[in-house]
Structure formats: structure tokens, C-alpha cells
Amino acid sequence: MDKNIFCTPNPVNDKEALDALLRDKRGQQYYDEMKRLKVDTAALQKLLNDTCRSRIRTWLEICAHCGMCADACAFYLSNDKNPEQVPSYKIQSTLGEIVRQKGNVDNAFMRYAMDVAWGKCTCCNRCSLYCPFGIDMGVLMSYLRGLLFSQGFVPWEMKIGSGMHRIFRAQMDVTVEDWVDTCEWMIEEYEDEWPNLKIPVDKKNADIMYTVNAREAKHYPDDIAEAALLFSIAGENWTVPSEGWEETSLAMFAGDWEGAQLQVKSVYDAMDRLKPKRMVVTECGHAYRATVIEGPYWAGLKSGKTPVTTLHYVEWVAEALRSGRLKIDPAKKIKEPVTYHDSCNYIRNGGLSHIGREIMSYIAEDFREMTPNGDHNFCCGGGGGLNGIGKYRQERNTGQKVKRDQILATGAKLVITPCHNCWDAIRDLEETYKIGIRWSFLKPLLLDMVIVPEHMKPKEE
């Protein structure tokens, strides 16, 4: 039997291995190799003994099989109520089985578990609000992902993503040089219209340290410039770190807890180095979840909190609007019907539901809520890494039907999505279902609406 080259329990730790893996078109060879990947049952059993404690065991055990979680799941509803999509079934037939068998499971079972863990759940945690016992199947699924990753049963893109974080400390191949260069480029790009624009790199003791999603540096550098403009207009004393600038964590989606730890430590190191008063995270949901909510635990911080107070971008926007540091020109408020998509990762799992509403009250004249919304909002299908996994693309697209219908019911054609993965997912949703909507981050909309102070405007001749 051939030896596995790509599909092994070992994570990708160097560029050579990463490039080789990338050359394997859509992971064809990778998935072929997976079919003969041996399950190391002893290691799995040990991992269970070390990490599967009373919380998870109890959840799995006391589940009364009542089925009340079914209607909570966007995938269940989108798939015409296919019983195989009932959250409890998804977790009982995978993690439940592994735990009951004490890790004695075979290759086919692990591949089935992978199909469920990444193809049928975005870890949006909505079902946790519908279980009378408070069983959080998103948490269980995430734990299952960790087990699967440790054995090498992980989708190709997730393996790559985790490798990117381990090598670049970013979800894409963006180096520190690329990042700093992009910041400089953006200043040049905008200097004519915004002569005083600065993106201070590595400034110590600033009020705000701003961190982003690597996709901004790689594909959407204007997002960085827009953030810089809004900080400047609000008169903030801010900075970006040269190292530790990346907030996201595909490692979290992959269940690669070691990679996730490496990633968040780079951000916390930047905090220690630059000593900012606060940190602001860009409009990204899972980045906030990873670095602010889960990250302190991965890094072993006893407080459970980031070394300095951290705000999601929407919190900063709400604060700036509330305090009047950003002023909206009333004539330029959004007139058309507009809706706000709640990102699971910082609304349900971050408690910022009211912040979104507050912002909308300042900027929109005809704000339409989706039903349900806030803590109970449905996932758009972009969570849990499902946006980027080719193998489960169809499952993801089908799973978006609930969100599609929610948006259609509002009658709004503009969807505000202050989260990168949601933004992508809503875009994909439009591509698949063609319902004639537009979608936007907050930054470009705000820039169209804010009153620019005189000193920021270019001098007229």
C-alpha cells in the first residue's frame, strides 16, 4: 500500500508541504489517501480521556432525544426537514458514537463524521437556545472537529487553512512585509483625496490597536483604507501592529487548537509590545470569536479575556456615533429599506445584538428586522469554514435557503453584513438564488454618510 503523502494526522508546518498540498487540485489525491488513513484508536482514546470531561459526556448522555432542536437548525429547515439534519442526530451519530465506542471507530466512520462536522453544521450554536437541557451542539461539533483534525480527517481546505496560520500567522499567504506594504500603498492611493490620511504602524501606547482579516490585505485593501479614514475622521489615536495584525482563525474552523493558539498569541504579543488602551477588530465575526472570546483560553490566560479590552468594529462604530465623533449627515442616511444580518459569532456568541440596532438607528430610515433576529438569528451558511470547503459546497448552498427566505421576507434589497464570512455567504447566496439583493460592510456605507471635518478635506486651489 502506498504511503500517504498529504492526508496524515500531522498538521502542515512548513511552506514546502503547504505548496505541495496546494498543488493537489481540489484535494483529489488528498481525499483518495484519506480512504486508507488508519485511525489511531489508542491516540483517540487518550485524547478522549484527557479532554472529554463531564460537560461533554453529560450532554451526550442526558439528551432526551426529544427532537426540539430540529427546527432550530438552518440546515434541517433548508433540507426539507430531513431527519438526518436534526442537530441531536448529527452529534449523537458522530461524537456520541466515538465516545460510546471509546475511540474504537474505523476509517469509514471517521469520514462520515467529517462529512457531518463540516458539511452539515456551521457551529452557529443556535440549537443551544432550543434544547431544554442547554446542550450546545455547536460546541460538541467543534470538539468533534478537534478529534477529527488530530486524526487527519479534515477537509483539504481546512488542512491548508490551518497550515497557513502555522506558517504565516495569517489565513492566507500574506507576510508581515506584504501587510505593511499594503498599508503604505493605501496611504498613497488615498493621499490626493485625503491628504492627511495616515496608517500608523507599531505606534506605542495608542488608544486603539486595529487588527484585520488577511483577506483585506490580500484582496480588499480598500477596506483598510476605509477603516483608516473613519478612525481619522473620528479623531482616534490608533495604530496597526506590523506583526500580530491578523485576527482570523481557520485553525479554529479546522479544530487545530495548537494552530489557533499560535495565531492568537501573535495578536496578544502585539498587545504586549504596543501597549494600546484597547483593540478593535475589523468587521469579521469568527475573527472576533477566535481572538476575543475563545482565544484567551487557547493562550491560557486565566482571566478569560484578552490582555487589553477588545471591541468588535460595530462596537467602535456605535460608540463613535453615540459620542458624536462620527456625525452622520441626516440627508445622506440610507433611505431604502435595509436589513441587518446578525453574525452568529459576535451576536449570539458575543452579545452584541443591541449594538447592531443602535447603529441602524443612526444610519437608516427604513430599517427592517429579519425574523427571528438578534440572539436567535439564523446562520447565513458562511459560518464554521463552510464558505471555503469545495467538498461540501452544495450542502452549504442548500443550507442558505433559510437565510434567503428571511431576507426576502423583509423586502429590503440591501443587506448590511458586518462580517467577512457572512458578506461572502450573502454574495454566494445571491449568486445561487439571484434574489436581487446587494450586500455591504458598514465602512463604505458610513464613509458615504459621515460629515468630514474641514481639516481632513483636500485643499482647494
Binding site: 470531561r53 460537560r55 432525544h65 427532537g67 426537514k81 437541557f133 458575543g350 452579545g351 440572539d375
Partner: protein, 226 residues
């Protein structure tokens, strides 16, 4: 026979029941781990306790959570079943008489006719729960044989108690089976899914603390919208 069942065996089953609850609860709490669960149970504990209390409270009140509201039939079934089950057991005159006899105290009691209706309610709702398991695909797929077994163990004391009380057929036979099934129920509670009767409070509290401490609790304006 009667003496054996209500004497040593009753003692044993109550001991197993209470000690089982104690051990399982303490094992649960002991097994909670700030790092592995990623919830700082000991830091910002007050935020956690607040949300834990809310989490339990709202789920104990019918229609007070969105989950209850969106599934009204299940909610009615659920509450009628559980309330009737607890009330008819704890407040039954006969049970309280035994308590008074043995330990010299009793809880409040309800008229026998009410107990009767409550017992019927338990049996009826349990039957509907069984039908639900068979009929609804989303419940059927989850259901295992043990789920039926547990339901049967749970309603056996009610059914037998009811038959004994109304003296259908052989009173002593039903009385003895009632006692045996009741004791069996007590014994299996700590070791089966029925442990939810007390672990419910702990798992709900845990999730409350999770949301209260870590997942937005300190930023969420009015507490979790359960």
C-alpha cells in the same frame, strides 16, 4: 413481602437515589474545567451565576423561552407531563401519610381526585410522547429502544398506582408492583437519561454561565434572550 419492599428495599432505593444524585452532581461539577470547557467558572462568576439563574428560570416557565413558544404543543405536553408527574407523586395523600408515619413530617397534600386526574394526565401525555416518537420523523430518527424502556419505567408506578387505588383486579398485586416499579424508578434515575431530573439544573446552569461569562454575557444588554 410488603414489609420487605417498604422496609429495607425502600431504604436501599432511596439511598441509591440520593447518593446517586449527590455523586453524579459532584462528579459533574468536579469534571468542569475552565480550560477545557473554555469558561472561567471562577472568574467573573457573578455574571455566570446571573445568567445561570435566568437560564434555569426561563426554561422552567411555560412559553417563556422562544423554544417553548415556537413549539406550543410540545411545550404543553412537556409541562403537563412533568408537573403532573411531580405533583401527583409528592402531594399524594397516601404518600404523605407514609411520610408522616415513618418520619413524622409531611408535605402539602392535594385531594385524591386531583391526584387521580394528574395521574391520568401523566399516562396520557406519556402515551402522546410515545406516539410522537413513532410518528414524527425528527424524533423517530433519534429514538432508541432504551427511550421507550425509560418512558415505561417512568410511567409504570403511575399506572400501577392508579390501578391499585381504583382496585382494578388484584389490589395487593398492583400495590406491590407499584412499590417495586417506584423503587426501580428511584434506582435507575441516577444512572440513566432520567438523571436529567437533577442534571437539568446543572447543565442549564453551565450553559448559562458559558453565555454569561464568556459568550457575550458582559456585553449583552438585557441578558440572553432565552
Amino acid at each position: 413481602m410488603y414489609n420487605l419492599l417498604t422496609g429495607p428495599l425502600a431504604w436501599i432505593s432511596f439511598l441509591i437515589f440520593f447518593i446517586g444524585i449527590l455523586i453524579r452532581s459532584s462528579l459533574y461539577i468536579k469534571g468542569l474545567d475552565s480550560n477545557i470547557d473554555r469558561v472561567t467558572y471562577r472568574v467573573n462568576t457573578l455574571f455566570g451565576i446571573k445568567e445561570a439563574v435566568r437560564s434555569i428560570f426561563f426554561w422552567l416557565i411555560p412559553f417563556s423561552t422562544r423554544g417553548w413558544r415556537t413549539q406550543p404543543v410540545m411545550t404543553l405536553l412537556f409541562f403537563i407531563f412533568h408537573i403532573s408527574l411531580l405533583a401527583s407523586t409528592l402531594f399524594l395523600k397516601a404518600h404523605n401519610m407514609i411520610l408522616q408515619e415513618r418520619w413524622g413530617f409531611c408535605i402539602i397534600t392535594i385531594p385524591n381526585v386531583v391526584s387521580d386526574y394528574l395521574t391520568i394526565a401523566v399516562i396520557v401525555t406519556a402515551s402522546i410522547l410515545i406516539i410522537r416518537r413513532i410518528k414524527l420523523p425528527q424524533v423517530k430518527i433519534l429514538t432508541k429502544r432504551s427511550d421507550y424502556l425509560i418512558l415505561i419505567i417512568s410511567i409504570a408506578p403511575f399506572l400501577t398506582g392508579f390501578l391499585a387505588f381504583h382496585q382494578f383486579g388484584h389490589y395487593t398485586f398492583w400495590m406491590l408492583t407499584h412499590i417495586i416499579s417506584g423503587e426501580l424508578l428511584l434506582i435507575v434515575i441516577p444512572f440513566t437519561k432520567l438523571s436529567h431530573s437533577f442534571l437539568f439544573f446543572l447543565t442549564r446552569a453551565q450553559l448559562g454561565m458559558d453565555y454569561g461569562i464568556k459568550r457575550g454575557g458582559m456585553k449583552r444588554q438585557k441578558g440572553m434572550a432565552w
